[in-house]
Structure formats: structure tokens, C-alpha cells
């Protein structure tokens, strides 16, 4: 199981801290920082603008005050010098134009003072108002002086000395310097504020930047760490699960997408484990059923092979049908128990069937030993064939050797005494047939052709415990067996054919050796058929063939 466990988020029980929520919060935090930066920017800009405006107004006032001061000084000098100018005794003083010009000199100062008043804040307005009022008095006094200068010198001098000069002294040396000092202080304050605001906003901007950087780093670290741990756990778990360790569980306990993914992985693993368990059980069941089916198949195949040749059974299994085939050279063997029909009336059915079963079982074993195919039994008749479905050239010899075995089997003396003895009549014929399987139920491998009918007639034309051969079979086995010519035998269909009884192994093939089969027989067999005989009826070596029947009836 995983050792690295991603901790469960417990901050919000109802609202889990999902990745989307984390990213949203991070984005919002960054947005807030951006907004904060923006607010700080606008605030600092406003502060700077305000301080710059304050500074600008203070400087403007300073300039105005300096201008007023300069103009006052000029006027003061002008008046001071004018007061020293002697005039003619007959002078009538300044004319209207001169008075107007003088007044025009006074007016700009008044306008500048008004402008100064407009630029001043509430605190400074009182002083400016005082300046304005004093200047009004001063200008009025100067006007009086100027209007009387030369005309009424005493009044002019009196006005100048009594009013204008004290007022000008007050204005020039008291009010204006105070304003100058105030404005200088304000400019210094405004400059200080400006640099203070600039420094403050700079520090705040730097702090916000540092804080933003730290927050961004922290957010990036936390989110990436969370994702890395979760994805790493998922990757490791997926690798283990992919390698087949279905007991592994991904230990992500967070209530987010990774947790959901981990749970989905675990659920998938559970399902896989369950499916694998079910699959294993199903495989075991399937194996068991397969074995059962194999057994059944083997049983059915065995049954099928019991009723069909191997190659035919395989063809039938493969194709579902068996193509009829023409075999130009096969040996057909028929047997028939003599006296069976009469025995059916005397024997119990159980005994009758058991006897047939014993004989036919023995016949089946003989067929198996000599490579012959049992085709069917019809009542007490047993039909088999050699040379099909696998073609081989030795089938006539093999069929005759099997027939010797069958005769001996039927005549063995170890039968219960109360049971009757049925001699067997065997007919063998060699010829062409057509072989095939007919029917879809209880089908059977069978052969058809004239050779089959003739083989049956050969059997019918035989005698008990003798192996009756057709001429064609005889011609194929005469180099191995002693045969007795029977002459032309009238068959059931009233035709005559040459027939022979097989009596035993040719004497010259027995070579008096104890080897089974004898070397001479084996040698010839190999020379004729290029293979060894499947079996050999050794009992034929015990008694040499005679013209009489092999075994007495």
C-alpha cells in the first residue's frame, strides 16, 4: 500500500477544497493583489497629484508673493524717491493722466493679491485678506499722496508719513514676509509631502510586490505540491495496479478531483479484483466444464469412433458431413452364426444377447488388432472391411488373418456348458465399394456396391467354421495362405463363382521357427506391402493346414 498519503482537507466539510476551487482561490488572490496594486497605484498617483498640486499652488503663491513684494518695493521706492523730489512752488501737482497711470500701477498689485487669495487655502486666506485690506488702505494713502504731491505738499507728506509709510512698512516688512515665510513653509511641507508620498507609495508598491511574489510562490508551491503528491500517488498506484497488484489502494484522502480520481481508481481496482476473482472462478468453472466437456467429447468421440473410422469421424467432426468416397480396392468380410435363428427360440433373450455380445466384443478386438473397420452387425451377422478408410495394400491378407482369429474365437472351449455353440460362417471378397455416412441421427458408416453384395453371397455360400474366399480375394492372399479350391459355387442369385477356403499359412512361410510371425511370412509380407503385419494368428503355426476344416465343428 502507498506510504505517501495526501492529507484530507478539513477546512470545509460541506464544500471540499477541490483543485478547481484551489485554482479559483489562487486566481482570485492574484486578482486581489493585482487590484491592490492598482488601488495603490491610483492612490499614490492621486496622492502625488494632490501633493504636486499643493506644491504647484504653493510655488505659484510664492511667485505671486515675490511679484507682489517686488511691485510693492518698486512703488515704495518710487514714492520714497518721489517724496524727495522738490517741486515748483507754482506746481499744481500731478495731472489726471499721471494719477491714472499711478493708479494703474497700483491695480496689478491688487489683482495679484486677489489671485493670491484665490490660490490660498483657508488657513492662509486670513493673512491674505489682511494683506488685501492693508494694501487697500496703502494704495488709498498712496493715491492721496500722489494726488496732493506738488499741490498740497504738506498733506502729501503728512499722508505719506502718517499712513502710507507705516502701511507700506507693515505690508513690506510684516505681512508679505509672513506670507513668504508661510508659503516657504508650505512649499517645504508640500515638497516633504511629495517626497514622503513618493517614498511611501514606493515602499507600499515594493511591499505589495514582495507580498505578491511570496504569495504567488506560496500558492504555486502549495498547488503544485498538492498536484505532484496526488499525481505521484496516482501514478505509483496506477503502475502497481497495472502490474497486477489489485490489492493496492491509492491513499488520496483529499476531497477534490484527485481524491475522486483516487476513489475511482480504488473502485476500479475493486471491480477489477472482483472481476478477476469472478474470472478466476469462471475460468475454474470453465476448466471444470471444459474437462467435463472433454470427457464428454472423448466419450462421444469414443462412441463416434466406435461407429465410425477415425478419419471419417474426424471429417464428420470437422465438416459435419462426410463426402462419399470411392475405394477401388477393399476387402469385405461377413460372418454369420449357424444355428442362431433356431437358438433364439430356445435361449433366454438375456443369454442370447450376452452370447452375441461376447462374440462381437471378441470380433471387435480382432478388428482392432488387424486394422479392419467394423461396419455393423445385422442380427447375428458381423460385417467388417479392410482397406478403408485408410488405403493399404495388405487388407486381403489382414482380413484372412482376422478371419482365422474369429473362427478360433468362436470355437474356443471355455464357454459355459449350458450355452449352445454356434459355428461361424465367414465370407471374404475383395473389390471396389463406395463408402460414406448416411443420416443425421444414429448415422452409420457404410459401404455400398456390388462387391458388398457379392461378399455377402460368398459368406452365404460358405460352410461353418470355414473361411470362404472369392476368387479375387484368393488371388490376393494365395501367396500367404494355403487355400482349397471349391470349384464353382452356385450363389443365392443362381450364379456360379470360383470360391476357395483359406486353410492356413503357407507351409513354406512357417519355416519351422518359433518366431511370430515367422520370418518368411514377415519377409514376404514386408516385400508385398512395405510394412509389418499388424498382428499374426500364432495358433495357425501349431497345426499345419489341412484340406479339412481348420477347426472341427
Amino acid at each position: 500500500m502507498g506510504t505517501c498519503r495526501v492529507k484530507k482537507s478539513t477546512r470545509y466539510d460541506s464544500e471540499p477544497m477541490t483543485i478547481r476551487r484551489r485554482l479559483t482561490f489562487s486566481f482570485l488572490a492574484i486578482l486581489v493583489l493585482f487590484g491592490l496594486n492598482l488601488v495603490i497605484h491610483f492612490w499614490s498617483d492621486q496622492q502625488r497629484s494632490a501633493t504636486v498640486e499643493t506644491l504647484r499652488r504653493a510655488i505659484a503663491r510664492q511667485i505671486l508673493i515675490a511679484s507682489i513684494k517686488q511691485d510693492l518695493h518698486d512703488l515704495q521706492r518710487q514714492v520714497a524717491l518721489l517724496s524727495q523730489v522738490p517741486v515748483e512752488a507754482t506746481s499744481s501737482g500731478a495731472g489726471p493722466d499721471e494719477i491714472t497711470r499711478f493708479n494703474n500701477q497700483l491695480e496689478p498689485i491688487r489683482q495679484q493679491i486677489e489671485e493670491l487669495r484665490d490660490l490660498s487655502d483657508f488657513e492662509a486666506r486670513n493673512k491674505v485678506a489682511s494683506l488685501e485690506k492693508t494694501y487697500q488702505e496703502l494704495s488709498a494713502s498712496w493715491r492721496i499722496f500722489y494726488e496732493n504731491f506738488g499741490a498740497n505738499q504738506a498733506k502729501a507728506v503728512t499722508e505719506l508719513a502718517m499712513h502710507a509709510e507705516p502701511l507700506s512698512q507693515r505690508v513690506v516688512h510684516e505681512l508679505v514676509p509672513q506670507l513668504e515665510e508661510d508659503e516657504k513653509r508650505r512649499v517645504e511641507v508640500a515638497s516633504g509631502n511629495f517626497y514622503g508620498v513618493a517614498s511611501l507609495t514606493g515602499r507600499i508598491t515594493l511591499l505589495i510586490f514582495i507580498f505578491s511574489t511570496l504569495l504567488a510562490i506560496a500558492v504555486a508551491f502549495l498547488v503544485s505540491r498538492h498536484l505532484t503528491l496526488g499525481l505521484g500517488e496516482l501514478k505509483r498506484g496506477a503502475a502497481l495496479i497495472g502490474n497486477g497488484d489489485l490489492t493496492h489502494r491509492i491513499a488520496i484522502e483529499t476531497r477534490d478531483e484527485l481524491g475522486d480520481l483516487g476513489q475511482a481508481f480504488n473502485g476500479m481496482t475493486d471491480n477489477l479484483l472482483s472481476a478477476r476473482t469472478q474470472l478466476t472462478q469462471a475460468n475454474q468453472e470453465l476448466e471444470r466444464r471444459h474437462q467435463e466437456a472433454e470427457k464428454q467429447r472423448q466419450v462421444s468421440e469414443s462412441l463416434l469412433l466406435n461407429i465410425l473410422p477415425v478419419s471419417i469421424a474426424k471429417e464428420l467432426q470437422a465438416k459435419g458431413t462426410v463426402e462419399p468416397k470411392y475405394f477401388e480396392d477393399v476387402t469385405i468380410l461377413f460372418t454369420d452364426f449357424v444355428g442362431f435363428t433356431s437358438s433364439t427360440e430356445k435361449l433366454a433373450a438375456e443369454d442370447l444377447v450376452r452370447m452375441l455380445h461376447d462374440y462381437f466384443t471378441a470380433f471387435d478386438q480382432i478388428m482392432a488388432r488387424y486394422g479392419l473397420e467394423k461396419l455393423k452387425t445385422i442380427g447375428d451377422s458381423y460385417m467388417c472391411v479392410g482397406g478403408l478408410p485408410v488405403r493399404n495394400p495388405s487388407h486381403p491378407v489382414d482380413a484372412v488373418m482376422a478371419a482365422f482369429e474369429m473362427v478360433r474365437t468362436v470355437n474356443e472351449p471355455n464357454r459355459p456348458g449350458h450355452l449352445p455353440h454356434w459355428p461361424v460362417r465367414i465370407g471374404i471378397h475383395t473389390g471396389p465399394v463406395i463408402a460414406g455416412v448416411v443420416g443425421i441421427q444414429k448415422f452409420a458408416f457404410d459401404i455400398w456396391g456390388e462387391s458388398v453384395n457379392y461378399a455377402s453371397r460368398v459368406e452365404l455360400s460358405g460352410v461353418p467354421n470355414q473361411i470362404n474366399l472369392s476368387w479375387r480375394t484368393y488371388s490376393r492372399v494365395k501367396d500367404f495362405f494355403e487355400c482349397e479350391y471349391r470349384g464353382k459355387v452356385l450363389t443365392k442369385d443362381k450364379k456360379e463363382f470360383n470360391m476357395y477356403f483359406a486353410k492356413g499359412i503357407l507351409q513354406n512361410l512357417t519355416d519351422n521357427s518359433t518366431q511370430i510371425p515367422p520370418l518368411a511370412f514377415l519377409h514376404r509380407y514386408r516385400v508385398y506391402f512395405q510394412h509389418d503385419p499388424p498382428a499374426f494368428p500364432a495358433f495357425l503355426l501349431e497345426s499345419p493346414p489341412t484340406s479339412s476344416p481348420l477347426i472341427g465343428v
Partner: protein, 165 residues
């Protein structure tokens, strides 16, 4: 018209008395002949000044009698004898130098006000009497009552060591 008759008789009498006084100068008048008196407003907190102090006042180097009482110089117009005495003894300047001096003084902003021209002793004494802190130089014989005449170097006009004459 009945009400104007007593006022007319008063002025006629005053004129006759004055005429008599002018026709027959006193001993004091004779003693102060040619002296230029330094007259100041009665509020001026000084009675005796050295010639150097008078010079500082007239040169504009001292502009206040006290912290709230400025000095107002009243100088006679050119050609007047009092002006010549002042220029010669106190300023020790010619007329042109005097003018240049005050122009320069004003333009250097060393003083806010300059001396004011008066055209007669009467005007001078009148203004001195009416302008606080004012100081003027008039013929000692024409100093009216009510004005303060300062001693110069401890001497009043008419005295032998009085420097302004």
C-alpha cells in the same frame, strides 16, 4: 454779520501783536540768529543727540526712535539755508551727492523711506508737530512753541558751541 465782528477784532489784535514782536526782536532772537534747530515731534524719546547721532539719523542709518516710532526726515527744499547747513555740516555732501546718496540708499533697499521735502520752516514745523517721530531742521528763530528742540552735542541753538549754524 453781528457774530463775525468779535472774531475779526481778535484776528486784528493778533496781527498787531505779531507785527510788534517782529519789529522788535528779542534778545533770544538775536542770540539764535543763524542757528539751525533740530526740531522733533514731542513724542520723540530724545532730548540731546550728538552730532554723530544726528548724522546717523539723517543718513538713514537709524530709522526708528523706538521700536514702534519710525524716524521721518523732513528736509527743506534746495536753496533753503537750513538745507545748506544740513548738507554741509551733517551730510557733508553736495546737493548732487545728497540726491545720489538717497537714490542709492533707496534702491539698495537700505531704507524704505527717504527724507521728505518741505518748502518752508512753517511747513516743516507744522509737519513735525503733526507727524510722530518726525525730525526737521529749521531756523532756530522760527521754532514755534510746542515743538521739541533737541540739543546737539549738549547744546541748544543760540549757544556758542552749537554746531549747526
Amino acid at each position: 454779520m453781528g457774530r463775525l465782528k468779535p472774531l475779526f477784532e481778535f484776528w486784528i489784535s493778533l496781527f498787531v501783536v505779531g507785527l510788534c514782536l517782529g519789529m522788535f526782536p528779542s534778545e533770544a532772537d538775536a542770540a539764535t540768529n543763524g542757528d539751525v534747530a533740530v526740531v522733533v515731534h514731542p513724542d520723540v524719546p530724545a532730548d540731546d543727540l550728538s552730532l554723530a547721532e544726528v548724522r546717523r539719523l539723517l543718513l538713514g542709518d537709524r530709522q526708528f526712535w523706538s521700536y514702534d516710532l519710525p524716524v521721518t526726515l523732513l528736509i527743506r527744499a534746495p536753496i533753503a539755508r537750513e538745507r545748506d547747513v544740513v548738507l554741509k555740516i551733517i551730510y557733508q555732501m553736495s546737493e548732487a551727492q545728497f540726491r545720489q546718496y538717497w537714490i542709492a540708499k533707496v534702491f539698495r533697499a537700505e531704507v524704505a523711506v527717504g527724507p521728505k521735502i518741505v518748502y518752508s520752516n512753517e511747513m516743516a514745523t507744522g509737519l513735525v508737530g503733526s507727524i510722530p517721530g518726525s525730525i526737521s531742521f529749521v531756523d532756530a528763530a522760527q521754532v514755534p512753541n510746542g515743538l521739541k528742540v533737541l540739543k546737539v552735542d549738549g547744546h541748544l541753538p543760540g549757544e556758542k558751541e552749537y554746531p549747526l549754524r
